[in-house]
C-alpha cells in the first residue's frame, strides 16, 4: 500500500520508552503493526489495544491509540466488553503463549466460539520471558528450564489446532521476521468480521533464542516455510518441489514429482468444514520441520455483537422503548387511597 494516508508509523508511537530486551522479536511486530495501521488509514481513535500480562502485553503502552494493559489471561474478556459496548471500534488483543493458553485459556476459547469482533495477536515464543525462563504451554516436550530441570513432561498446545477446535472463524499464522507476510495477515484479520486469531512466532533471544531457526535461518527457511495461499496448490521448497496432499489420514508432505501437481491440495480457507484446516495445522507441532504459514481458515458467521444489537432492536420494535413505570405496571400493581 503506497497511496497517501493521513498517518505515518510515528503517529502510532506513544512516546513511551520501549523496554523490551534488545533484539526481542516484539520490536519487529510492534513496527509491523504500527506501519500497518498507518497504511490502513482508519481513524486512530477507533483502535483499542487490550493486553494481559507478559512481555508482549506491554504492547499497548507503546501504541498511540486507546489501550489497556489488564490482567494475566483476561484480555479476551475485557476486550469482549469493549467490542460489545462499541461496535465501531477495532479491538486488538495482544497476548502471549502463557497469557492466552495457560492462565487465560478459558477466555480465549470462549471468545473464539462466540465470534466477538476481536483481532487476537498471540505472540508465541514458547517460553515464559517476563518471569525469566520457565517452560510455557507451547514449549516442546523435554525442554529443560528452571522449573523443568529434567525436561518438561507437559504435552504442548498447538495454538492453531486449538483455535480451529474452538471453531474460530479466522485462524492464521505468521512469523515476526517476515514483515510483509505479517502485514498481509494483519490486513486479512482486520477485514474479517468476527474473531480473528493470528499466531505470531516470536523469537525470545534471551530465554529461548533460535526456537524458530528452521523458519528464519537463511539455510533452512525455504525448505520449511509452507505458505498457504487461497486457491493455490500447497507447495514449498526452493523450487516448489515439495507439496501437501490431504487424504483420509490427514495432511501429508510429498514430493511433487512423485504424485504430480494435480494431486497436491489446493488451499481453500473458506471451506465450511474446519477439518481440512485442522489437518494442515497438524503438519507441524511447533516449528520442528516444514510448517504452514498463512490463513488456515476464514469463514463467515454472524458476530456476537451484531446479534446482540439485533436482539435489542427486535425487542424495541416489538415492545417499544419502555419506561420503568410501564415495566412496574406490567408486573402488577394495586392502589392504596
Amino acid at each position: 500500500m503506497t497511496t497517501e494516508t493521513r498517518y505515518t508509523r510515528a503517529d502510532f508511537q506513544s512516546g513511551q520508552e520501549v523496554r523490551w530486551c534488545p533484539g526481542c522479536g516484539d520490536y519487529t511486530i510492534l513496527a509491523s503493526v504500527q506501519s500497518f495501521l498507518a497504511d490502513l488509514d482508519v481513524d486512530r481513535e477507533k483502535h483499542v489495544f487490550i493486553s494481559g500480562i507478559g512481555c508482549s502485553s506491554r504492547f499497548p503502552y507503546y501504541m498511540n491509540t486507546y489501550g489497556m494493559h489488564s490482567i494475566h489471561g483476561r484480555a479476551p474478556a475485557i476486550a469482549t466488553g469493549v467490542a460489545l459496548a462499541n461496535p465501531d471500534l477495532t479491538v486488538w488483543v495482544i497476548t502471549g503463549d502463557g497469557d492466552a493458553l495457560s492462565i487465560g485459556g478459558n477466555h480465549l476459547i470462549h471468545a473464539l466460539r462466540r465470534n466477538v469482533n476481536l483481532k487476537i495477536l498471540l505472540f508465541n515464543n514458547q517460553i515464559y520471558g517476563l518471569t525469566k525462563g520457565q517452560y510455557s504451554p507451547t514449549s516442546e516436550e523435554g525442554k529443560k528450564t528452571k522449573t523443568s530441570p529434567l525436561g518438561s513432561i507437559d504435552h504442548p498446545f498447538n495454538p492453531v489446532s486449538l483455535a480451529l477446535g474452538a471453531e474460530a472463524t479466522f485462524v492464521a499464522r505468521t512469523i515476526d521476521m517476515d514483515r510483509p507476510h505479517t502485514a498481509r495477515m494483519l490486513e486479512a484479520a482486520y477485514r474479517h468480521k468476527g474473531t480473528a486469531f493470528i499466531e505470531i512466532y516470536q523469537n525470545c533471544n534471551v530465554f529461548n533464542d533460535k526456537a524458530f531457526q528452521l523458519l528464519t535461518g537463511r539455510q533452512e527457511r525455504d525448505e520449511n516455510r509452507i505458505y498457504l495461499e487461497a486457491g493455490q496448490p500447497i507447495v514449498f521448497g526452493s523450487d516448489n518441489e515439495m507439496g501437501v496432499t490431504i487424504g483420509p489420514d490427514g495432511a501429508n508432505i510429498v514430493s511433487v514429482a512423485d504424485v504430480g501437481l494435480d494431486a497436491i491440495a489446493v488451499h481453500d480457507p473458506a471451506h465450511p468444514n474446519p477439518g481440512v484446516a485442522f489437518a494442515l495445522s497438524r503438519l507441524s507441532h511447533g516449528p520442528s520441520g516444514p510448517t504452514p504459514l498463512g490463513v488456515f481458515r476464514d469463514v463467515p458467521r454472524p458476530t456476537y455483537g451484531d446479534q446482540m444489537v439485533q436482539q435489542i432492536r427486535d425487542a424495541q420494535a416489538r415492545n417499544g422503548v419502555a419506561s420503568i413505570a410501564d415495566l412496574v405496571q406490567r408486573h402488577g400493581t394495586w392502589t392504596v387511597q
Partner: protein, 623 residues
C-alpha cells in the same frame, strides 16, 4: 331421612396479623402456593413479608427431611417489618414437612395436614416411629386434617390430566383451603392460572378445579368452621407492587443507567442466589440493556469492566464464591479508576456452604478482600424494595467517583418479597455522566489522571473520542499523566489519592439517623437484611418497657460522617449480625468503641424476639 344441613357460617375472627407457612416436598409446589397466596394478599391490601426456604438440591429424595421446601408469609393490617418469628399456621403436605417445621410453629398454632401422605412409608422416611397425628405428640397445637390427595383426584377427574399429573394440583387444593380460611379474594389466583396456562389447558383446568375443591371443602366441612379476616393495612396512599429483592435490584440497575444517561451492561455467571437478577435484566432488552452470560465469574467482571472502559454503566452480579474470583479484576478497576457495580447476593459459606440459605459472611471480603491497598465503597440493601434505591445509589457513586462499588444483598432479600410503594420515576435523582471530549491541559494534551477538584475522580474519556487516545492498566500510574511509574514517592502519592477519594464520599452521603431515644442506654447497630428483625425487636422491647435506640447502616465504606459521634453517645452498643461479628470488628477497629455481638449462622434470618431478648439482657446487666 334427615335433611342435610349446614351449620350457619360463623362470622370471621378479626386478626391484625397472621403468619402462614406452606411446607411440603420440593416437588409439591409450595413456593408456587406461597407466592400466589402472597400476591392475592398484596392485591387485597395487606402489608406483608415473605421467607422462601428451599433445599439446594433441585429434587432431593422424595418424602425426606432434606427435600422439604417451605414458604412463609406474614400478612397484616399494619406496617410490618419481618416475615414473622413463628408460624401461626403450618400447612404440612407430608410427615417430613411437619417434622422439619414443627419447631417454628407458635404454641397453640394451627397445623393443617394432608392426611393422605401420612402412611407408613412416608412416616418412616421422615423418621417418625409412630404417627404424630394419632400418638398425641401434637397436643399443644390445633390440628386439622384433610384428605388432600383423595379430594384432588376426585376434583380433577374431568379435566383431562392423567397419571402422575393428577396429584400435582394438590398444592392448589391446599391454597384453596387456606384462601377460604383467611377470606382471600379468589380472582387474582384464578386469573393467574388462566394467564399462565391458557383457558383450555388441562393442567390449568385441574389447578382451578383443585383450588375450588379446597375452597369448598372449607365451606362445607364441619371441622373447618372458623375463618379469619386480616383487614387491609393502612399504608400510605400510592401505587404498590409486590417485589423480591432481586427484582427490585434489576429495576434499580436499569433506573441507575437511565439516571446516568448510559446504556446498562450486565455481565454475570449464574450463581445462587444471584441468578435471577441476570434473568430479570435479560428480559429488559427493549430498554437497551445488554446482558452477557459469561464463561466464568472472572470473565463476567472482565467483560463488564471492558464495557465500562468503553462508556457503559457496567455491573456484574454474584455471590460469595464469585466475589472471591472477581477480586483481581476489582483491584484492576480500582487502579484504572473505572466505574463498576459488583452485586454480592450473600449466602452461607465458606465454600459452597449452604448455597440457598442466608448469611452476612462476606462483609470483610467486600471491605478488604483484595491485594494491595484497594479501598472501594460498599453499600447494602436493607429490605427487598430498598434494593432498588441502593442499586441506583451504587450507580451514582460509581460514575461520580470513577470507582468500583460493591453492593451487598443476601439470599433472604433476593427471594423475599414485600409491597413497594412505586416511586414517581420521573422525579428520581439524575446524575448524567459527562465524558471527557477535549484535552485537559494548557498544552493541549489529554492526561487521564488529572483529578476533579471536588470529587477526586479522573476524567472518563472513552475509546472513539478523537484526540484523547490514552493507555490505562494495572501498573502504577504517574500522577496526572497516567504514564507507567515505578517511582517510590509517586506510588505513595497515588495510593493516598485513591484512598482519599473513597474516604471523601462520606461528605456526599446522608448522616445516620438514630431511631429511638437519644438517652437510651443501648444502641443497636445493624446492616443489610437484618433491618426488619432488628427494628421489630427494638419496637417489641419498647412495648415491654425497655428503650433502645437503633442505627441501620446502608453505607459500610465509607461510614456516614457522624457515626463515630453517635456511637460514643451510648453506653452499650449491640451489633446483631448473621455472621461471627464482622461489622462489630470494623466498628471496634475504626472507632475504638466496645460492642456486644448477637451472632447467628444457621442459614436462617434473625428473629425479632432474639433481638428483644438480647436488648433486655443488656439493660438488666448493670455492669
Amino acid at each position: 331421612m334427615q335433611e342435610e344441613t349446614l351449620s350457619p357460617p360463623e362470622p370471621p375472627e378479626r386478626r391484625d396479623r397472621v403468619v402462614i407457612r406452606f411446607a411440603g416436598d420440593s416437588g409439591d409446589g409450595m413456593q408456587l402456593a406461597g407466592t400466589r397466596f402472597t400476591e392475592t394478599s398484596a392485591v387485597f391490601g395487606n402489608d406483608l413479608a415473605t421467607f422462601p426456604n428451599y433445599p439446594a438440591e433441585i429434587r432431593a429424595p422424595q418424602g425426606t427431611l432434606a427435600g422439604v421446601s417451605s414458604f412463609q408469609v406474614h400478612i397484616a393490617d399494619w406496617d410490618i417489618l419481618t416475615h414473622g418469628d413463628a408460624a401461626d399456621v403450618l400447612v404440612a403436605m407430608n410427615p417430613a414437612a411437619l417434622k422439619a417445621n414443627l419447631k417454628d410453629v407458635a404454641p397453640g398454632g394451627l397445623i393443617l395436614v394432608n392426611e393422605d401422605a401420612f402412611d407408613d412409608r412416608n412416616l418412616d422416611k421422615a423418621g417418625y416411629e409412630s404417627n404424630p397425628l394419632t400418638d398425641g405428640s401434637l397436643q399443644g397445637f390445633h390440628v386439622l386434617t384433610a384428605p388432600m390427595e383423595e379430594l384432588t383426584k376426585i376434583a380433577v377427574k374431568d379435566t383431562g390430566v392423567k397419571g402422575r399429573s393428577v396429584l400435582r394440583s394438590k398444592n392448589f387444593f391446599a391454597l384453596g383451603l387456606i384462601s377460604w380460611m383467611f377470606n382471600r379474594p379468589t380472582e387474582p389466583i384464578l386469573e393467574w392460572v388462566e394467564e399462565k396456562f391458557g383457558s383450555d389447558n388441562p393442567v390449568g383446568a385441574a389447578n382451578v378445579a383443585a383450588f375450588r375443591a379446597g375452597f369448598n371443602f372449607g365451606i362445607t366441612t364441619e371441622e373447618f368452621h372458623h375463618t379469619y379476616e386480616i383487614p387491609p393495612a393502612k399504608l400510605p396512599a400510592g401505587t404498590y407492587t409486590n417485589v423480591t429483592g432481586n427484582q427490585a435490584l434489576a429495576w434499580g440497575l436499569v433506573a441507575g443507567a437511565k439516571a446516568a444517561g448510559l446504556p446498562l451492561f450486565l455481565g454475570s455467571y449464574p450463581i445462587t442466589p444471584a441468578t435471577s437478577i441476570l434473568e430479570a435484566v435479560a428480559q429488559l432488552k427493549h430498554f437497551g440493556a445488554k446482558t452477557f452470560q459469561a464463561e466464568d465469574e472472572i470473565a463476567a467482571i472482565g467483560v463488564s469492566l471492558g464495557t465500562a472502559f468503553a462508556g457503559h454503566l457496567a455491573a456484574t452480579t454474584t455471590s460469595g464464591p464469585g466475589l472471591a474470583l472477581k477480586g483481581e479484576t476489582l483491584s484492576l478497576a480500582i487502579m484504572t479508576e473505572l466505574p463498576l457495580i459488583v452485586v454480592d447476593v450473600q449466602r452461607a459459606g465458606p465454600s459452597t456452604g449452604l448455597p440457598t440459605k442466608v448469611e452476612q459472611g462476606d462483609l470483610l471480603m467486600a471491605l478488604y478482600g483484595r491485594h494491595g491497598e484497594a479501598p472501594l465503597p460498599v453499600i447494602a440493601a436493607a429490605s427487598p424494595s430498598d434494593a432498588f434505591e441502593v442499586a441506583m445509589e451504587a450507580a451514582r457513586i460509581a460514575v461520580t467517583y470513577m470507582t468500583p462499588v460493591i453492593l451487598m444483598s443476601d439470599g433472604y432479600l433476593a427471594n423475599g418479597a414485600e409491597p413497594w410503594r412505586v416511586p414517581d420515576f420521573d422525579a428520581l435523582p439524575e446524575f448524567k455522566v459527562e465524558f471527557a471530549r477535549e484535552p485537559n491541559t494548557d498544552a493541549g494534551e489529554f492526561l487521564p489522571y488529572i483529578r476533579n477538584e471536588r470529587t477526586g475522580a479522573r476524567p472518563w474519556a472513552i475509546p472513539g473520542t478523537p484526540g484523547l487516545e490514552h493507555r490505562i492498566g494495572g501498573l502504577e500510574k504517574e500522577a496526572n499523566t497516567g504514564n507507567v511509574s515505578y517511582d517510590p514517592e509517586n506510588h505513595e502519592l497515588m495510593t493516598l489519592q485513591r484512598e482519599r477519594k473513597i474516604a471523601a464520599i462520606a461528605d456526599d452521603i446522608p448522616e445516620v439517623e438514630v431511631y429511638g431515644p437519644e438517652d437510651a442506654e443501648v444502641l443497636v447497630v445493624s446492616w443489610g437484611s437484618t433491618y426488619g428483625s432488628v427494628r421489630a425487636g427494638v419496637n417489641n422491647a419498647k412495648v415491654l418497657g425497655h428503650d433502645a435506640a437503633h442505627v441501620h447502616l446502608r453505607y459500610l465504606n465509607p461510614f456516614p460522617r457522624n457515626l463515630g459521634s453517635v456511637l460514643n453517645r451510648y453506653h452499650k452498643i449491640l451489633v446483631p449480625e448473621l455472621n461471627r461479628g464482622q461489622l462489630a470488628r470494623v466498628l471496634r477497629g475504626q472507632f475504638l468503641v466496645p460492642t456486644v455481638s448477637l451472632n447467628k449462622v444457621q442459614g436462617v434470618p434473625l428473629m425479632a424476639a432474639e433481638v428483644t431478648k438480647k436488648i433486655i439482657e443488656l439493660l438488666e446487666d448493670k455492669s
